[in-house]
Amino acid sequence: MILQALAFYLFATVLLASGVVVVTSRNPVYSVLFLILAFFNAAGLFVLLGAEFLAMILVIVYVGAVAVLFLFVVMMLDVDFAELKKGVQSYLLPGLGIGGLLFAELVIAVSAHWHFAPHAVPAAATPKGLTNTAALGHILYTDYIYYFQAAGLVLLVAMIGAIVLTLRHRDGVRRQKAWTQISREPSDAMAMVDAKPGEGVE
């Protein structure tokens, strides 16, 4: 247990500290790198909670894919973040106010008699004899398959929408046709010509 407690405090401290650095860092690349560190520690907390599937998915999706895109963008953009941060003074007070309000709401919500709905309790805990990957699979693909499919459909629409909005067919672009290239034979491209001396080849 003491190892678990130590691990919890390690992950939680690093998570909070790196979260603070994400916001305060001057260099945006550092911000993204510390964001990645924060994701990692969140994954560690998931593992401590026994949600190993979520932990791995967090690392694969957020660290392995989303944060790579962030890093790409931040490294290639030449954004002067000091310039952007100039207005921080004027927004500080309203920002703190909204943050404090949200925090107070959270405290009220959690400290009041907060509990699971009775029908949600059996679904919340991992059933005996199943790993939590299998339990999640059962819930997503067996119990709530239609909701899951509907969510998938929404994502598909978003994907098609993004493609339709950005795809432009331009005229006069010579595209590579891989099949014609592969199926080209030496006989299509070469000819043996018997060149006579002094006459050359036409």
């Binding site: 247990m1 003491i2 190892l3 690349v29 790198l33 990645i36 190993e52 599937f53 932990a55 791995m56 998915i57 690392v59 694969i60 660290v63 392995g64 894919a65 790579v68 890093l71 790409f72 490294m75 290639m76 790993t131 939590n132 990957t133 590579q176 891989a178």
Partner: protein, 357 residues
């Protein structure tokens, strides 16, 4: 397990400390073995390549050149590490360390034999996939921190390449998971027992082994997909500013990833530690040797590809990844799921004689 028991009962430590101490010792020994073995994989790679080109390869340091890699490593370590003046020093040095550490960390879940695994976790395959998808950070961070146009461009290219091919590796893993019904690597091997009829290479998953092999080459930047450090065209890709030990770390990480993916392919498709035929003299051989033999076969193929396949162009590489391997592997997820749901319950006993199905 044995070490934990020893610390607990003979040395009289409480269980958590005994377990921690045993794991630490196990990890250190394991990593040392893996790291020393990398020296010989590198040598094997060079020897195979030399043999194809009818050269002798490294043959001066030690018998048959066995110590060549150690000599090279020494040379790198005693060189002066040069850090470019405009580089971001912290990230510049952190990037190769991250690359090498991730390559080591991945080995934690690889089962070498029944029960021979440092961390036998339920989501072993996902862990491996997560770690290998992090490999891209070593590349981008190194390229960016060098503060060099060439390094950065190469880093972007190779990051795009790694991210693209990860997608199809992910789908290949999904097909294997559907067949094995588990995310635990040891369970995946057990599902392929008892002999080679059960291996997924002899099942409808065979095309996925090919997809996985090609994607692994691209993922580890091996020829024919080594565009980022094409020696005849570029200097050294994102590593252009690196020298000495940082370069050595990248080099080490790269080879460890290649061997790791060979091990992963052996576990997912070639039955891991299982012998090809479950009869006496073969079953008496320790499983780790069978796994090693399978890794050697795959590594040999990887080396041979390096020796005879011409390099791809960048657009061809992207086309192959997104337009061929990705659709095929996605389609195969459907095929594998249909097989497990519709074919296996009906024809299972029949196919069990031919292959494990």
């Amino acid at each position: 397990m044995f070490l934990t028991n020893w610390f607990q009962h003979t040395a009289g430590l409480p269980y958590p400390w005994a377990w921690t101490l045993a794991q630490v010792i196990l990890i250190v020994v394991y990593q040392a073995v893996v790291m020393v073995s990398v020296a010989f994989w590198i040598l094997a790679d060079r020897k195979i390549w030399a043999a194809v080109q009818m050269r002798r390869g490294p043959n001066v340091v030690g018998p048959f050149g066995l110590l060549q890699t150690f000599a090279d490593a020494m040379k790198f370590m005693f060189k002066e590490p040069i850090i470019p003046a405009a580089a971001n020093k912290v990230i510049f040095l952190a990037a190769p360390i991250i690359a090498a550490t991730l390559a080591f960390a991945a080995w934690a879940v690889v089962p070498l034999d029944e029960g021979w695994v440092v961390a036998d976790i339920n989501v072993g395959v996902l862990y491996l996939f997560a770690i290998s998808s992090l490999g891209v950070y070593g590349v981008i961070m190194g390229g960016w921190a060098s503060n060099s146009k060439y390094g950065f461009l190469a880093a972007l290219r190779s990051a795009a390449q790694m991210v693209s091919y990860e997608v199809s590796i992910g789908f290949v893993i999904v097909t294997v998971l559907i067949f094995a019904g588990s995310l635990n690597l040891s369970d995946i091997v057990r599902a392929q027992g008892p002999d080679m009829r059960g291996w997924y290479i002899f099942s409808p998953l065979f095309p996925m082994l090919i997809v996985m092999f090609i994607s692994s080459l691209a993922e580890t930047q091996r020829p024919p997909f080594d565009l980022l450090e094409a020696e005849s065209e570029l200097v050294a890709g994102f590593m252009v500013e690196y020298s000495s030990t940082p370069f050595l770390l990248y080099f080490l990480g790269e080879y460890m990833n290649i061997i790791l993916l060979c091990a992963l392919m052996s576990i997912m498709f070639l039955g891991g530690w299982l012998p090809p035929i479950a009869i006496w003299p073969l079953t008496a051989v320790p499983g780790v040797l069978w796994l090693l033999a399978k890794i050697v076969v795959l590594f040999f193929m990887v080396s041979m590809v390096k020796a005879f396949v011409p390099r791809y162009r960048y657009d061809q590489l992207m086309r192959l990844g997104w337009k061929l391997l990705l659709p095929v592997s996605m389609l195969w997820v459907v095929v594998a799921a249909s097989w497990v749901v519709f074919v296996r319950p009906v024809w299972g006993p029949f196919f069990a004689h031919l292959f494990g199905g």
